[in-house]
Amino acid sequence: MAKYKMHVLVCGGTGCHASQSDLLLDNLKTIVADKGLDNEVQVIATGCFGFCEKGPIVKIMPDNTFYTQVTPEDAREIIEEHLIKGRKVNRLLYVDPENQEHIADSKHMGFYKKQLRIALRNCGFIDPENIDEYIARDGYEAMAKCLTEMTPQQVIDIMKKSGLRGRGGGGFPTGLKWEITNRSVSDIKYVVCNADEGDPGAFMDRSILEGDPHSVIEAMAICGYCIGGEHGLVYIRAEYPLAINRLKIAIEQAREYGLLGKNILGSDFSFDIELRYGAGAFVCGEETALIHSMEGLRGEPTVKPPFPSVSGYFEKPTNVNNVETFANVPVIINKGAEWFSSIGSEKSKGTKVFALAGKINNVGLIEVPMGTTLREVIYEIGGGIKDGKKFKAVQTGGPSGGCLTEKHLDVPIDYDNLIASGSMMGSGGMIVMDEDDCMVSVAKFYLDFTVEESCGKCSPCRIGNKRLYEILDKITQGKGTRDDIDRLRNLSTVIKDTALCGLGQTSPNPVLSTIDNFWDEYIEHVTDKKCRSGQCKALLQYFIDAENCVGCTACARNCPVNAIAGERKGIHVIDQTTCIKCGACMEKCKFNAVYIK
């Protein structure tokens, strides 16, 4: 048997995969075999390490060396230098942005220091396509414990005591949901895993399914045992081919081991899982719409109650939980409710995975205890704002959430604090904005998304959001008035109060929260017709500086609408009413005489 001295872990998440980590993996394997090291060095693909900014990632153990941005061509150097001669390849090590030093050990990277990984415990550590590696990390032990030693009610009590709340955004207590489904009387009940991750910029569920699919399978089986259901369904978007593939492999392996199927572990409990593909509609993340989509109907939400726990998939009691919620379950059973509830804040227990994106240095996936402040997440883990710019806001909760500003930086992040600050947890996307972002445009961007994704069933959402978008567009075109801001507010409130489902009820949030937090910017847009970040092109005005203009006529010759007048060797002037703000004059001027105001 091979006695491995070294393990080479290559990230096989979607991000790194896109930067050729599959080719890198092949190269490493081939060269290791060529050098006759295949009995000493084990090369495996793992799930996401989270540090997507610098992918592809390669980690070498036992010395914990963390290589970043590794190309397929680097494979030879890593093997010849590091594996054979024991010399680390310095140029591939992570460089500390603060002091420009190379950091070899991931434990010393700011990105990992503050993190606590529960849901992501196996991501980047095990080979997701090998069930044995999952079992070695206490995999399926929680399920075995539940089936052999506990009654469904005892398991539900643990879940309730742990304080775990739904990680998909709503934050409904998981144990309570299981209990309600358990109490519903029916011959058939369903466990559904919601893997329809639709927030722009969020990818935590995808990474869990890619990096640790068995944790979700195990948790679904535990849930099935608790509610008294034998059927599991994963609703996953078809845009996640890698996650689908790994999940399929994992389900197959679990069946071969008899960990899914009839009479699991000799008990009288049977459970199996099937996949259902979504076409990528945002509204299908809403549980009633998701269930309709699985039934083969249009992905439209219906009024609750009845809740799915009472009447869901084909009118049978259905327990819908999100991927990340499920990933927490096995650990809670193994380590106990007290352990879990000791982590986090008063009303939000455990950890939360966040996807950092936008103008932040360390784009990637992180997991921190609830109650960590925004400042710690953005500056210590995220490494601060790109290019040393000034932080302006962070959008949490995606298109349903709101933005948080500098004054919220020291608020501990949990479900309730985020709502109190005018935003929400959502699935955990965090989009960071800097001084160059115009907040009216940001609100418009999210409205554009919801208008596109609205299913059209109820008028507040279908028509109301469209009107919101039009008003925002008018403001960014410089044609807005003070009344428009009031109109935005009124309409937003009406949509929130009257829309049918979560999508419509939350879609005005980005508008309201940007108005509340960036009132000045809205006023500037409508009264001064100015956009301080320069993003609203229509609000810019081009001028020619009389001091610098030499009268070369380059600008006038290149102006497509003949808006520039002036004699040769005389000062030129732009006619603001004709100017279309294309910027051609600025580009052509060799004397820096054209400026924007």
Binding site: K5, M6, K85, F125, E133, A136, Y257, L265
Partner: protein
């Protein structure tokens, strides 16, 4: 692959696989374990460092000592190859020279188990950048 019929079956797979993955588990907190670094440059390998490293890995396993064995580059003591640096938890690293299987056995039995020093220690009288 056989079916898993009971918790005992599951534990069996777990133990079997854990052995293969212990290398990864251990490297998450090497400070709390015995760390052995074997100098594996050309000179070290030529004098038998590879065999010494294998010996350490196998013997730690057999004698049930939690340790991390890694290879490193040339330590500069080419006259005394193979050289091995041993760090016990919470102690300063000690470098041993002329390590063969017999000396390695001595190091495990005397130094690692009881903290007794073994002949052949190379005094470290330089400073590294890290210490400054």
């Amino acid at each position: 692959m056989g079916q898993v019929k009971s918790l005992a079956d599951l534990r069996k797979i777990k133990e079997n696989q854990q052995g293969k993955m212990s290398l990864r588990e251990k490297s998450n907190n090497p400070e709390s374990l015995v760390q052995v670094r074997v100098a594996m440059a050309t000179c070290g390998i030529a004098s038998g460092a590879k065999q010494v490293m294998d010996f350490f890995i196998e013997e730690f396993d057999k004698r049930n000592i939690q340790a991390v064995v890694t290879q490193t580059g040339c330590m500069g003591y080419c006259f005394a190859e193979p050289t091995v640096e041993v760090t016990l938890p919470g102690k300063e690293p000690v470098v041993f020279g002329y390590v063969d299987a017999k000396k390695a056995d001595d190091i495990i039995e005397k130094y690692v188990k009881n903290g007794e020093l073994v002949e052949g220690i190379i005094p470290v009288n330089y400073e590294t950048i890290e210490k400054k």
